[in-house]
Symmetry: C2
Subunit: 187 residues, 2 copies
DNA sequence: ATGATTTTTTGATACAGATCAAAAATTATT
DNA sequence: AATAATTTTTGATCTGTATCAAAAAATCAT
């Protein structure tokens, strides 16, 4: 719980009232490696704050899994458009490792937004950094070789890239497993 | 002005007070085609809401311009990370057409955030749709041919793609001008 | 532990799109 | 309107990465 409240406090000052409302609404859960936390055919009703572990957002293209991104400790995960707009979307979420999370139901989040304006600010600020990450990613995807993409990936995900299977990284980068394997091989 | 207030009202209910505070703080400006609205060497202090025209966010890679995205009527433009975090970033903003905007200074926006919680909500919601767009773009950039990228671009930017020079579209898509020219040529 | 899956590596070949070069067309400037 | 500058098109060639195939290695399940 400490980790979660500390996360909020990096963006806003947490009143005791808000702290306890968050604590009371959040649920501690553990998922085993390989577990499907969210299915593309459903509407995403929960957001997960990772305490320990590694989760993945992915979708299917031509029957094959394409990893959209990876989330580790101290980050929120959900199916963004599905969670925000309460409609279905293409993304699945699964666990790359055994993972423990604090999960928050969308209705509880709506309650927090409606009663604590600072939560709106928190969401604005944290979404801002999300936008920043996406921008950097889009930039690094164009006019770069497969090797440059991989190098950039390892820099950006320095502390987790070795925890993710090669095939998942390849699809994240938009290259084939074979190519990534060859890149890793030489030098 | 109507267009701007109407834009806000799609996300939040505008009180008369907030409406007039926005109106008083916004400045109407016109820029000629080719004008540089923001320079990468400076900190972005203004956000521009386009009334009429077309603006572009771009950066330089190996001395060549790479278009990051295009913004047209009823959209806000700024250098995202520079504006949000008040630091320098790689992006320039210029005008593809003669363009009229309502410009808002970052300090005025901060004022609005501090005095009107609903503005925080507006920002959260509009950033949410931004995230959605970026996600779709990242998805459509991987494992797609140059032709598929262009087709997707024309669908997404249906009403403006014919107003943007070929070379700018090519760099936006991460393909060369020559390739895009050939794609347009056949069929 | 042992066999079965799954993942990663290695090899051979093919092709989409890059690069280099230059002509044609369009747009801007005097 | 004429000239200059820029943008787009066309052509020829080259290359990085995909694809197809199969072996090797790692991981999982009984």
């Amino acid at each position: 719980m400490t980790a979660l409240l500390h996360h909020f406090s990096q963006y806003i000052t947490l009143s005791d009232d808000l702290s306890s409302e968050i604590s009371n609404r959040v649920k501690h859960q553990t998922f085993k490696k390989g577990h499907l936390l969210h299915d593309a055919n459903k509407i995403c009703t929960h957001s997960y704050f990772i305490q320990q572990g590694l989760l993945r957002l992915y979708f299917l293209k031509d029957g094959k899994e394409v990893s959209e991104y990876f989330c580790c400790e101290k980050e929120w995960v959900n199916s963004p458009r599905s969670f925000m707009q309460q409609k279905t979307d293409i993304y699945y979420i699964d666990a790359i490792e055994d993972t423990t999370v604090f999960s928050l139901h969308v209705q509880d989040l709506v309650f927090l937004f409606n009663h604590f304006p600072e939560m709106e600010r928190y969401a604005r600020l944290s979404m801002g950094s999300m936008v920043g990450h996406f921008l950097e990613r889009i930039t690094s995807m164009r006019f770069t070789t497969a090797r440059e993409k991989y190098t950039h990936f390892c820099e950006t995900y320095h502390d987790i890239y070795h925890r993710i299977p090669l095939g998942m990284i390849a699809s994240y980068l938009g290259i084939t497993q074979e190519t990534l394997s060859r890149i890793r091989a030489d030098k």
